[in-house]
């Protein structure tokens, strides 16, 4: 007749110790009394009674059982905090270094995130693609991808392959560039797309008014919010009329939220119906409907849910046809239809030339640099904490003697490193906030820190944990391994071998810094080299402007006269494309002594008279076009590269003929009038294209105006006068132009971005390494104070002591340089190989970097070394 043991156990488990005696006793007594009448009831009553004691009044205090570990953690916190405060200098160095490293890692991480977020704005991101043609490209030993397609291909896809796609849309931007959108007196220039009605739904545009079927009417238009604001202000834009290019009138049927900066169509501010495009370009229906050669439109498709591009591509290959004369070439190139997925648009652009960097490669570099700089900062942390270990050897000894297990010590040191990392992280977040605007302007991206994104925070957390583990691992393992007896006796210092890992880390750190520095110098050297390249024309004070509207028709002479009359313009010309680009090229050329096996392609640009004078080209043989000689209309001017390909000894007066591929019966016979110096119109890293200039009128129409401002007139004075002329003669066109030197400078954009970033990273890497060195130097001198005291007593001079203390570190840095130089050489010669027009890797770059590294090391170390060397030996010898 014992009460059930399980229930008593349960009672003892939860009940307060000071009550258990009485309660258990009374319960048992009651149970026994009840048991006499009914054992079954007694059991039930006993259990029920026990349960009734489960109330706050009788339950053990939970705190009591846990207090030992909380105490331990708060002790860790206290000890960690004290050691941070006591070694203020070290802590600042440590946290600063780590914070800088983390800032760079955060910035780079956010950048990479931003790049990968491209186009994800569109709901159907994963299923949208552009129709393209792919095939072998013998020139680059790879494949090419063309995304500008023929009209009949689109007709074929829509007519016979429609079931393969959920949505399909043709698209083209206006051939004249930006469109003039006018509502009443308000006019703005903006780029836009002509598309089939499906496009809006495909891109899942966020419609602020109207819906995705807003483009079904021919004279309709869907505009971006920003355009609506600019044209109509607060007024409701729906059903308002906009005049496009002073020609077609369209009615606003929808307004969409402006596409964010990280989308392909970001610049597109309006969508207009495809039928309107056909109306504006009547030549399409006359000539292009069945022309399998004329590539001028884009085709976008969305595949159905659950299908992959790889499944769809074989189904649609049959849609591609070729003009009879192209069949052979197409077969040789294995030309076929493909789908170019939206997810590849941003990071895997097609047909990169040798000197252009794959965006994904750039991102990999950014990631690698971020990682390395973070590693540098972690190495600092490791070095400084192990160096400080001597000071804490006694603490470790006492802890071990009292009974700390090794595991506890390890967790203690991890805890401390976690504390430092948290501080560094907070500083890094603040620094990233400060640096973000500057950083995104360098990266020329509109990058923002995604505060609201849970993934960002998850990444940050992971990042903190990884960094504290990485940075705390070595100190934790090293410090906890001390033998308590030796540590307490005061010579817990290990032998010479102990500093070896520390030295190796310093070498590693400096190797990375030196590699970064050399790379930076080389990148800048290459940019400077390309910038110094003779361009063959004069970019200063040259204004370029596309003739955007029919309003320019027949106005050229009057424009030119009026502009010259202002006294600020020295010459005006027309050309096909701006001076900083090549818009057209042709093959089919023949001349005396041509290799009949090879059909060379030349850049072919038609220009007006006096174009040479306007852009300032340099004639080296023969003469420019002469307006007074009518025969010059069949004359050509070629550049040096073209001359080199033709291989003519006396080019002037030589006949050159051209056969039009469209109609072989059309043969033009030209005569070479002059040869000009090569002009850098495309990439400054590439050889100049062989170019042929002819007079406008019979081959392609010049679509750009070039205006040369007189060199003796200030631009600020000239521009208003030029503008007023344009306003008077072509009032319907907004005055928008670009400067040749600006456009030229843009060609260096990517490389300059890389150079700027590399220099910032290199500078910070050096800073971090120096911080580490500073901490280490002060540690070394501290441990050697007694030795130095003895040396001084025996007569060592300050100079000798200084040399002795510094040379150790200088050796380390020299070793680092030796390790870094071949790596940097390998990396940079690979990079430079991308550029046909490139600088060399001269020895001085390496030499200067090495000398710089040594000087910086000396500077960093000397402060501590000299301070120690100047110390009074009595003070340090008396310490015992």
């Amino acid at each position: 007749m014992q009460p059930p043991g399980k229930i008593i156990q349960f009672l003892r488990w939860f009940c307060r110790e000071d009550y258990i005696e009485e309660i258990e006793g009374d319960l048992v007594e009651v149970f026994k009394k009840d048991y006499a009448t009914s054992p079954r009831k007694a059991h039930a009553k006993f259990a029920l009674s026990v349960i009734r004691y489960v109330r706050p009044q009788f339950i053990k205090r939970l705190k009591i059982s846990e207090s030992s570990t909380t105490g331990m953690y708060s002790n860790y916190l206290k000890v960690g905090w004290r050691s941070l405060i006591r070694n203020g200098g070290y802590s600042v160095i440590n946290i600063t270094g780590l914070a800088i490293g983390m800032t760079i890692a955060i910035l780079n991480g956010v950048w990479i995130w931003h790049e990968f977020s491209f186009n994800k704005y569109h709901d159907n991101y994963e299923r949208i693609a552009q129709v393209g043609e792919t095939g072998l490209d013998p020139e680059r030993n790879g494949t090419f991808l063309g995304t500008t397609m023929t009209y009949p291909l689109a007709t074929e896809l829509i007519g016979n392959y429609r079931q393969q796609f959920k949505r399909i849309s043709r698209a083209s931007s206006s051939f004249q560039g930006d469109k003039i959108l006018a509502a009443g007196e308000t006019k703005i220039l903006s780029p836009g797309l002509y598309t089939d009605p499906d496009m809006l739904a495909m891109l899942s545009l966020k419609m602020l008014s109207g819906n995705w079927s807003a483009l079904s009417e021919k004279h309709s238009i869907v505009i971006a919010q920003s355009v609506a604001d600019a044209l109509f202000g607060t007024q409701d834009p729906i059903n308002e009329v906009i005049t496009l290019d002073n020609r077609s009138e369209v009615m606003v049927t929808g307004v969409f939220e402006d596409l964010p900066q990280n989308t392909e169509f970001e610049r597109m501010k309006f969508f207009a119906p495809w039928s309107l495009f056909l109306e504006e370009n009547p030549w399409i229906e006359k000539r292009a409907l069945n022309d399998w050669r004329n590539h001028f439109i884009k085709i976008f498709v969305e595949i159905p849910e659950g299908k992959t591009f790889d499944e769809v591509i074989p189904q649609i290959k049959g849609a591609l046809q070729f003009a009879p004369e192209d069949i052979e070439g197409a077969r040789a190139r294995k030309q076929e239809l493909t789908l170019y997925a939206m997810s590849d648009w941003h990071l895997y652009p097609p047909n990169l030339r040798g000197s252009q960097m794959q965006p994904i490669l750039m991102l990999k570099m950014v990631g690698a640099i971020g990682f390395f700089v973070l590693v540098l900062a972690c190495i600092n942390f490791i070095n400084l904490s192990t160096a400080r270990a001597e000071k804490r050897a006694k603490e470790v000894g006492i802890r071990k003697t009292i009974g700390s297990g090794r595991g506890q010590l390890v967790s203690h040191f991890f805890y401390e490193s976690f504390l430092v990392v948290i501080f560094a992280f907070l500083a890094a977040v603040a620094l990233s906030l400060l640096a973000m605007p500057a950083f995104s302007s360098i990266a020329s991206q509109n990058i923002e820190i995604p505060w609201g994104n849970p993934w960002f925070w998850a990444a940050c957390l992971a990042f903190i944990v990884v960094t504290s583990l990485l940075a705390g691992s070595y100190p934790a393992i090293h410090l906890s391994s001390f033998n308590p007896v030796r540590a307490l006796k005061g010579n817990g210092r290990a032998g010479r071998g102990a500093s070896l890992p520390r030295r190796m880390l310093v070498v590693f750190q400096f190797s990375i810094s030196v590699v970064l520095t050399i790379s930076t110098v080389v990148v800048f050297k290459q940019i400077q080299f390309a910038k110094n390249r003779p361009v063959g024309y004069d970019r200063q004070g040259l204004i370029m402007m596309p003739k955007r509207s029919d309003a320019f028709k027949g106005k050229y002479e009057i424009l030119r006269n009026e502009l010259k009359r202002t006294g600020t313009v020295s010459e005006v010309s027309e050309s096909m494309g701006p001076a900083t680009e090549i818009y057209s090229g042709n093959n089919g050329w023949d001349w005396k002594g041509r290799n009949p096996d090879y059909d060379e392609s030349f850049a072919t640009l038609s220009v007006s008279h006096l174009h040479g004078k306007t852009i300032g080209w340099k004639i080296i043989q023969g003469r420019d076009f002469d307006p007074d000689i009518p025969a010059d209309s069949l004359g050509i001017v070629i550049n040096e590269s073209a001359l080199a390909i033709m291989g003519l000894n006396a080019p002037i007066g030589e006949p050159v003929s051209w056969t039009w591929w469209v109609d072989k019966s059309k043969v033009f016979n030209y005569t070479i009038l002059g040869v000009v110096e090569d002009m850098v119109m495309e990439s400054p890293y590439l050889p100049a294209e062989p170019t042929i200039f002819f007079i406008k009128g019979h081959n392609g129409s010049p679509s750009w105006l070039n205006v040369r401002i007189r060199p003796d007139v200030a631009l600020a004075d000239a521009l208003p006068k030029v503008e007023s002329v344009f306003r008077k003669i072509v009032p319907s066109v907004p005055f928008q132009f670009s400067f040749a030197d600006d456009q030229y400078a843009k060609k260096f954009g990517k490389e300059e971005t890389m150079g700027k970033l590399a220099s910032i990273f290199a500078a910070l890497a050096i800073l971090i390494s120096c911080l580490g060195l500073l901490g280490l130097a002060s540690y070394v001198t501290e441990t050697r104070t007694k030795e130095i005291g003895v040396r001084k007593v025996l007569g060592a001079t300050v100079i000798r002591l200084w040399r002795m203390l510094s040379s150790d570190f200088v050796w380390l840095v020299l070793i680092a340089c030796c390790a870094a130089a071949p790596i940097a050489w390998y990396l940079m010669s690979n990079w430079l190989a991308n550029f046909p027009y490139r600088t060399d890797l001269s020895a001085w770059v390496f030499l200067v970097t090495v000398i710089g590294a040594v000087v910086v090391t000396f500077g960093t170390v000397s402060y501590q070394a000299i301070r120690t060397a100047l110390m009074n030996p009595v003070n340090c010898l008396r310490t015992e």
Binding site: E22, G25, L27, E29, K32
Partner: protein
């Protein structure tokens, strides 16, 4: 008076502690109450009241000797304190005074 409260059940337990002078412990109080009230109670209710009154200072306790009946556990004896006794007096006076004001009426 305001900080000194005494619930109805507490009052009964306190009366029982006082009446069983020096011999009152959990089970005896329970038995006494069950007998006087004529209904069965749970021991936990008695304990709750005792602990509350001990906190308020109406009773004090001491441990007694070990008894076989109790699985080797000691009894805990309760005694009414001066404050407890005063509380009982006050309660009694109060009720008595009000009771006396009831007019002499006979009910049906």
């Amino acid at each position: 008076m305001s900080q000194h409260t005494l619930g109805e059940f507490e009052e009964l337990v306190l009366l029982m502690v006082a009446s069983q002078h020096d011999d009152a412990y959990g089970v005896s109080i329970l038995a006494g109450l069950e007998k006087d009230l004529g209904k069965s109670l749970n021991i936990s209710a008695v304990h709750v009241a005792l602990k509350r009154m001990e906190d308020k200072g109406y009773v004090k306790s001491r441990f007694g000797g070990i008894t076989e009946d109790r699985g080797g556990r000691r009894k805990k004896f309760y005694m009414v304190t001066a404050l407890g006794k005063k509380m009982l007096d006050v309660q009694f006076e109060l009720r008595n005074a009000i009771y006396k004001r009831i007019p002499k009426i006979t009910f049906g």
